[in-house]
Each structure stands twice: as C-alpha cells, then as structure tokens.
C-alpha cells in the first residue's frame, strides 16, 4: 500500500524545535495514503484523525477502522451526537460517516490478522532496530498488564507505524538495539514517527527520513542504533 520512501533524502530541519504532538500527528496524517484502511488505536495516535488528507466532501480520503467493530468511523461526537452505543476503541463517543459498517469482534480482528488493514499507528515504550515493538506492559511486578488489541494490530496491519517521543523523561532513547520491555510483536514496525525524527525500518537497517531540531550527527550521538541516512 505505502510506497517505499527509502529513496527520500533525509530532511534536516535543524532550525525548528522538536515537534509538538499535534505537529507530529500532522506529519503522520500526510503519509496516510488515500483509500487506505487505517486503525489509529487508542490515545495519542487518535489525534492523527484531525490531520488526515480530506476529499471534496471534507471527509478523510482513507477509511478508519476501530477494533470494536466499525469501518468508516467519523470524528468525535459532540452534544446531541453522543450515543452510548457508538464509541471508538478508547471508549470515546464518535460518529459514523456515509458508507460506514458495523461488525462483530471476530470479524474486526479478522480484518487485522487476515492482512486486510493497510496501516495502524500505535504508541510504544520501545522499538528495536529490527522492528520489535514493546507497548503493552512495563514488566514491573506491581503493574496490572493490559494488552487490548495491540498484539493483533502489531502482527496484522500491513504497515505498522509507531508514534512516540524519541526519548524518555530521563533522556533515554526509545529506539533501541533490543527491547528491554516485554514484546508486543516481533519485527513488525515499519516506520517510527517521533518528535525529533522519522525513521524507516528496512531490511538493511534504520534509515532517517527527517529530523526536527536536531542534526543527524547529534541524533547518532543520542540514539544507540546504527542510523543510515
């Protein structure tokens, strides 16, 4: 679905600071191809819905899937639109667009595992250089684990994009050689969108597609993964 963008030259935007969440959502939104079936998970990636390319009718040119059984999901519901029977995966009330469809959970997840979904965007604790994803459990003994649909999406969607900050609050890079957190999926991530840079994970290694407020040299300094231009 997504055209390989590996030939795209690394864009160094050293004159601007790291991206805000909204700016990052806009960067990802621009990369979602028209006609794609897309799942934006829960939490931060759902912001991308506000930045998807739109057609003449003002609706997105892609079709949003929500794991709780809907294609053609519209924007968040407001006021009288709120219907307790119509929510997204984050349990937020949403609306339906013309051409929407509803289906049960087994069908919804068949759309993922069966390779029908083009793109999903997930948050992450860590992504490894080979595309391993860790985003469901910190592994701490007092933590109550919750996985939801993350593992199904990670192995199911044709392209798995990650949206995350590049560094933890302590300044440790979340793009790593090997994940230390429990895995969600093996070698499943194809693209990592962060506030400092966009990375493409390819068989020959991790390519930097764009940087924001950091030079490639500084990025290589702070991320302990071999970064190709």
């Amino acid at each position: 679905m997504t055209e390989p963008t590996i030939e795209r030259l690394a864009v160094e935007n050293t004159d601007r600071g790291p991206l805000t969440t909204d700016e990052l959502a806009a960067v990802i939104g621009r990369d979602i191809p028209a006609g794609a079936y897309v799942n934006l998970g829960i939490g931060q990636p759902t912001k991308i819905a506000d930045y998807l390319p739109t057609g003449e009718d003002g609706n997105p040119t892609c079709i949003l899937h929500t794991e709780n059984g809907m294609l053609g999901m519209g924007p968040a519901a407001r006021g009288d639109e709120i219907d307790p029977d119509l929510t997204n995966a984050g349990k937020v009330p949403v609306t339906e667009l013309p051409g929407a469809s509803y289906f049960h959970h087994a069908d919804s997840f068949a759309m993922m595992r069966g390779g029908h979904l083009d793109v999903c965007v997930l948050g992450a604790y860590q992504v490894a250089a080979n595309g391993d994803l860790a985003n469901w459990h910190t592994g701490k003994p007092d933590d109550i684990p919750a996985v939801g649909g993350a593992m199904d999406l990670a192995i199911g969607a044709k392209d798995v994009y990650v949206m995350m900050t590049l560094f933890t609050k302590k300044g440790e890079a979340k793009l790593v050689q090997h994940c230390t957190y429990p895995l969600t999926g093996v070698a499943c991530v194809s693209r990592v969108y962060t506030d400092y840079a966009v990375f493409d994970i390819q068989p020959d290694g991790v390519h930097v597609l764009a940087t924001y407020g950091i030079t490639l040299a500084d990025l290589r300094d702070r991320v302990n993964v071999k970064l190709l231009g």
Binding site: K91, V92, I144, P145
Partner: protein, 246 residues
Amino acid sequence: MWEGIEDERQTGHDAVSRAQVLQTTDEAVAGIEDGSTVLVGGFGLAGMPFDLIDALIRQGAKDLTIVSNNAGNGDVGLAALLKAGQVKKVICSFPRQSDSWVFDDLYRSGKIELELVPQGNLAERMRAAGAGIGAFYCPTGVGTPLAEGKETREIDGHSYVLEYPIKGDYAVISAYQADPLGNVVYRKTARNFGPVMATAARTTIVQVTEVVPVGTLDPEAVVTPSIFVDRIVKVEARSYTVQGAR
C-alpha cells in the same frame, strides 16, 4: 430443552420457539450455577448487559469465571458483580483502565485471578468454541510473554501459536431488538462481542430494548440467528454514563 413445546411460547407464528421470552431479568438468569463460566458482552459500557448483571448479583451465583473484554468500569455493571465478590477469575484483554478501581483492588489484594488474552484471540477463541473448532494456530502474540508455554508451529514460513476455544456455560449479552424466536439485531458498536458470545455458550441470555413480532426483522439483516439464543428479556432503555464525552 423440549419441555418448551408444552409451554405457551407463542411466537405469533406457527413456529414453536426453543427460546423463551421472559418477563423479568430475575427469571432470565435463574439457574446460573456457582462456578459457571459466564461470557459477558460489552466493550467498556457499550453493549454491557447492565440489567442482567444486576439480576445476577441478586441471584448470587458465586465462584464465577467471567469472560469479557474489560474487567469493569466505575461501580456499575461488571464492576458491581466483581465488587459483590461473586467472581473468582476474569479472562479479558484490557483490565487496567482509568476507572477499573474495583478490579485493581481485588487483583492487587490477590482476591481475583486474571488470564490476559489479546483481544482478537479472546474473540476468535469464543468463535472457535461456537463453531466446534478444537484449537487453532494464530499469529498473534508470537515471541511475546503471552505465548510462553504454548505450542508453536511454522506454517508456510510463518510462526503461529496454538490457541484453544473458550466455551461458556452462559452468555449474557445486550442487544437492540429480538423476535420471540430469538433472532437478534444490535445497535452500532454495542454489537462488539455479542454475536460471538451468543454462539459460544450452552445457554445464551439476551437483554433487548424491544421484542418485536416474528416476521418483523429483515431476514437479510438478522445478526444473531435464533438458533443461538435461549432466553430473551426486554429491559427499559437506559441513558447510561458516557465516558470521555465532551
């Protein structure tokens, strides 16, 4: 099962219904035994069978294993059942939420057992149970802690984990309309696990907002065919809390 023929299970039609239309939710949950596995529909609050769960709390069955996507929200529905101390184990995909304090307390104090299952596996394991499948190889979770100890197999160059069906003694679900034969339609994303759970239980109990005469539902649009439904009860439409409304 066939004692129904002597009852007055009028469908307004020549067909004699195996399904019962009951007058109260208390009748609808009658007979749920201690130690039962109960499949509970809903995704968060959407599709949660509140009235049947309230009846199950009054009924008092204990040591239940509950299969549901979440482990209760706030103090209502599934959370209230957990709080009543009737549940020994929860099989679910997403217990930890901002409003899952009832489950969190029980879990941290060791009073409830948790089997965490990826959401698609939860659905597919019930689908398998309802379809008579002995087990299936699934790619979800390969190489993760949730696949540890499970049989894996390479098929056509890909890795899969062997997953077993989840069969319910009872399914307790919420839907929009049913006819007296047991044909069911749902509303929007409140459908979620309902149709799958209806197939996977020995006895399927459905609460609906409306019971309509046989022949009213468009056969092309029936979502759960009558063969999967055992008990139907009409409940009042409720305006329930909506999370995240703005």
